[in-house]
Symmetry: C2
Subunit: 641 residues, 2 copies
């Protein structure tokens, strides 16, 4: 038998026993040691760097993938990608500061859109006649008769699991009972009068985080809110990584479902604890999430979402009993997942649609929800177009040398003055550990304005500053010097990083631009521009406009609406009408599959410039650059579309 | 720690370890040793007699209940009631032959009533268009669209668990799929064309036995049938004993539910094995059973069925997903329990109603289903009355000295000639072990005809025969001498036994009689008399008429319909119309609670005579008795009603 091997994780000093040939990233996950893995362990994001401090011979040899990602210096220092490393004997491993996940900034707030209270869950108090030998009507019969007689309710069905409880409930309440209906289905019969206690739970299942809201359905008000990191993250930081993982087999798919349902339940538990509401008093849950989260949470195979033609399993909203999904609210309660719009435009976007009420506005509206996939909606009451842009995880820090999520110690704001001096702000005011997406947007805008980069995003070699220097993959710009940082290394932005962000912004711009073209609209036609999602809340819209991530609209037309998907879920929880609206409108939305558009390639190339190949579309930015003397001498190539 | 005790069961020689203070009947049950217990272990039926052969000091002292039931001779021989005996140390116990349950005669046959095939389960084969970038409709969307386009089906809903399987099923079938619908709900999507395979399962959950039928729903024919003893019997042989047991707590209630669902599943398994049908191909189950079986099988607290005013939990038919009930057919399949009529008139009687089609006949019909409870139906298309008579378990052998169920070795037929010589027939032609119900009916009629008993059921002391002799509780009649029997004892019928049977027959007659009176009908008005149930199939109708168990109708009006409840279940399985009929008619049936009827007591006393206090109601029997010189000199007292 093999001698028992162990791994010691530094600096914690945590020791765990391992079997031979275990994967180092897996071992760390199981041990609860916090290592970032944006690509889900596929060896492509380069975020899971660790240092083998002792017994380097006791791990598998360097892989091809690691050779590509790690620098010579790193290899020499013992750096490895945890996901590519197999343990062969006992080792000591150091997790460097930059590979830590850190405490994430989570957002639960969203706009409040007023809704007329009309939830499918209702309570009715009934005084029932006691049966007698001369009126020996069955229990359920009496209940249904009196529901009709006293409340005028017809065609009501009783859930089987409720029927099981009816004889005892009626007698325990001494023939005074409260009937709980979900639409026409009786989901509970409580002894006595419980009409005052009626709660619901709304959840936004995000790829990165979940936001949960406990609502009093008799007032429509939020009683408590909570948020939690999505525990699926270790299986892949973006949806494609998770779909890939889940597609390996039903065991893997179930693992991801269990993880997310577990998180949903964990939030319920903490909300119940905070408020003293009883589990049985929470009669419904409404969920939103992108198409991948929708499939994974509901236990639907997500594989075909990632394969052309990218079709989801269904569009309509899904209703399922809490019991059958394993959600720990009232087991007879309903779980409603909002309908999907199409492809990667999921129920979260339906939530945005509901919260922004684009579908009933006369004004032409544009709405985007920025993330690994950025969903775009364009239109008004007459017609709405939707698409999903593969903006990728660069804003989440992936593929960015010192990129990280919006967690403690992330540089979130950058200003560069004319002397190329850099001012930055970090989350929680901690010493910087890396750079998050909003600061990358700032950097591009600021660097463009001071001439550190040109409209193609290329560093200007002419610049004479310590900050711009040669790095391993070409030029790089130092944002924070090592004596300022918590990692002890300079924090830089490389030419490669700029390319990644440019790709992301180009993807978003392409989506917006194609939808506008399809509707024959120009920037000036857009009256309202909604920016949804946590990431969007932290971006400086002026800078996003300068770099061409947003179309050039007057800033006053911008509405930052926060977690609008969550708002939509809360609205649906409070109202049957909102659900009917959702089901009706999603069917009418024109889903545009960008990859199928003839002009996609050309528009993508045009969008790869700062702000755009055709500068006439960005007159204000052009004017600014002219003023600053940074207007390009040679205009970029514009591909007619 | 206590030294380990053991019980050895003889004659098997089976040894089991026991903890101190375990109940002997419980120990025997767990050890799989076969002991009869008609009262469910309450110490009242006296059927669980055992002999403590060794270490009599190692059991609890004799209880009050045992003193009442056991004779002095029995006590001297070491007889005990297993249910009243607590084990205190190691003992050897002999199970006498008469306490054995034996192999039970089970009946699955019933009349065939033709039904137009129209099951709620249907299959549709669809060729779907493959999605593409220009038509990226979600999978379920395509399916529902094509179901509408190709088959004209609207408003179809997809079961959540089916949605989970859709993406894989569509691709595995290469866009050729079979959609299985239960009414408007999609319960399966199979890859390829499976339209030829469509099965259903009908079950009659009897108090004593279950009968199961596997049907091909594309033809409506029975493919295979099976029957099984109800495994709840050890917890009580009649419904009241089981209700009492289940009312102790939810653990006990769940135990009974698990037992019966387990038996239902065991029959499915054996039917699948016999026929090669796959579990997934069985898409629905339809069940009938009396109200207690209905509640116990569905996990509804049955307690209030046994407490005045005897109200069941519901009347309507219950639909529940197989998954939620734990029934091992296709987990998305439906389980339908037919509606209840009221009180103890359960879904089995609804089955009888469907099979006999009383509700659509012009003729006035009477139908009875004899058992521990005997249900009576009277009427025609205009109106139907129903009641339940507490006929008790005497026909099952309870409270009858040598009574037993219709199992191997039971005397099932008796003839007594003028010399008081007895001819009898036994089940399976084995040496007699006891007497079952049908022979008790024969005995009463035969004994009346030859003058061994008079119209009050009292033995005629004047008779000079070895067969009529003094026994412990008065006179007794020897049916089989000990050298003929397998127990080595004389098999006798006591005065007490006659009283028990008279009570049972009086209960049935009272029910019939009250319903007839309520409708103002006389015997001659009844055109058809249906006798349902296994027990009824074995009774000699002529004798049943002589003793006044049946009304005096011409024999040609009698229809013995066997397991008509099972027939009704099969009909409902094959047809939505039959179900609609069932739901409609049960609501219109006038349920008569006999206990609430003013004339109940008087009529019951009148019915306690052979055949009846008012002999003018039985002119043919009167005539026969006159001919035989056995017409009573002094007429019984008749209580006007
Ligand atoms: S490279 Fe290892 S997790 Fe991404
Ligand atoms: S007396 Fe023991 S089981 Fe009935």
């Amino acid at each position: 038998m093999a001698r028992e091997n162990s791994v010691v994780f530094q600096p914690e000093g945590k020791r765990v026993a391992v079997r031979p040939d275990e994967n180092l990233l897996e071992v760390a996950k199981l041990a609860g040691v916090d290592i970032t893995s944006v690509c889900g362990g596929r060896g492509s994001c380069g975020k899971c760097k660790v240092i083998i401090e002792e017994n380097r011979g006791n791990v598998s040899p360097l892989t091809e993938k690691e050779r590509k990602i790690l620098s010579y210096a790193e290899v020499a220092e013992g750096y490895r990608l945890a996901c590519c490393t197999v343990i062969k004997g006992s080792v000591t491993v150091k997790i460097p500061e930059e590979s830590r996940t850190g405490r994430q900034r989570l957002q639960v707030e969203g706009i409040e859109t007023p809704v007329k209270l009309n939830p499918p869950v209702r309570k009715y108090f009934l005084r029932l006649p006691k049966p007698s030998l001369s009126d020996p009507r069955p229990d359920a019969e009496i209940l249904l008769d009196e529901l009709r007689r006293q409340k005028g309710l017809q065609n009501v069905e009783m859930d089987f699991h409720v029927l099981q409880t009816v004889p005892v409930a009626l007698r325990r309440g001494e023939w005074n009972v409260t009937v709980v209906l979900w639409n026409d289905r009786i989901i509970s019969v409580d002894p006595g009068d419980t009409t005052k206690r009626l709660f619901g739970y709304a959840v936004d299942v995000g790829t990165t985080k979940l936001a949960g809201y406990l609502l009093d359905l008799s007032t429509g008000k939020v009683v408590a809110a909570d948020s939690l990191m999505n525990p699926q993250i270790p299986y892949g930081e973006d949806v494609i990584a998770r779909i890939t993982y889940a597609s390996r087999g039903s065991k893997e798919q179930k693992k991801l479902q269990k993880a997310v349902v577990g998180a949903v339940n964990q939030m319920v538990n903490s909300l119940l604890e905070k408020t003293g509401v009883k589990r049985e008093e929470v009669y419904e849950m409404v969920a939103v999430g992108n198409t991948a989260m929708h499939h994974l949470a509901l236990g639907i195979c997500p594989k075909y979402l990632a394969l052309s033609p990218y079709t989801p399993a269904n569009r309509r909203g899904v209703n399922v009993t809490a019991r059958n999904l394993g959600v720990k609210i009232n087991p007879n309660g309903n779980v409603y997942f909002l309908p999907i719009i199409g492809g990667f435009v999921g129920a979260d976007t339906t939530g945005v649609l509901l919260a922004t009420e684009i579908y009933k506005r006369d004004e032409v509206c544009l709405a985007i929800d920025i993330g690994t996939n950025t969903e775009v909606l364009l239109g008004n009451r007459e017609e709405i177009l939707a698409c999903s842009c593969a903006s990728g995880p660069a804003f989440e820090g992936a593929h960015i040398k010192h990129g990280m999520r919006a967690a403690t110690g992330a540089i979130e704001k950058i200003r560069i003055n004319e002397d190329l001096e850099v001012e930055y702000g970090t989350i929680d005011g901690e010493k910087p550990r890396g750079i998050c997406g909003s600061a990358m947007v700032d950097f591009l805008a600021e660097a463009l304005k001071v001439g550190v980069i040109d409209v193609t995003g290329v560093f200007n070699k002419e610049i004479d500053s310590d900050r711009l220097r040669g790095g391993e993959g070409g030029l790089e710009f130092v944002v924070a010097w090592k004596d300022e940082t918590s990692t002890g290394d300079d924090i830089v932005i490389t030419q490669g990083d700029i390319r990644e962000i440019l790709l992301a912004k180009a993807a978003i711009h392409t989506g917006i631009s194609i939808l506008m073209r399809k509707k024959g609209l120009a920037e000036r036609d857009i009256t309202l521009f909604f920016i949804a999602g946590a990431f969007g809340s932290y971006i400086n819209p002026e800078n996003a406009r300068i770099i061409g991530m947003y179309p050039e609209l007057p800033l006053e037309r911008i509405r930052v609406v926060g977690n609008a998907a969550g708002t939509g879920a809360r609205m649906a929880l409070c109202s049957k009408d909102v659900r009917e609206t959702a089901e009706r409108i999603v069917g009418g939305i024109r889903y545009v599959e960008l990859a199928a558009e003839a002009c996609f390639q050309a528009e993508f190339l045009n969008s790869y410039f700062l702000p755009y190949a055709d500068l006439s579309k960005y007159p204000e930015t052009s004017e600014l650059l002219r003023k600053l003397g940074k207007y390009p001498k040679k205009l970029p190539v514009y591909f007619p579309t």
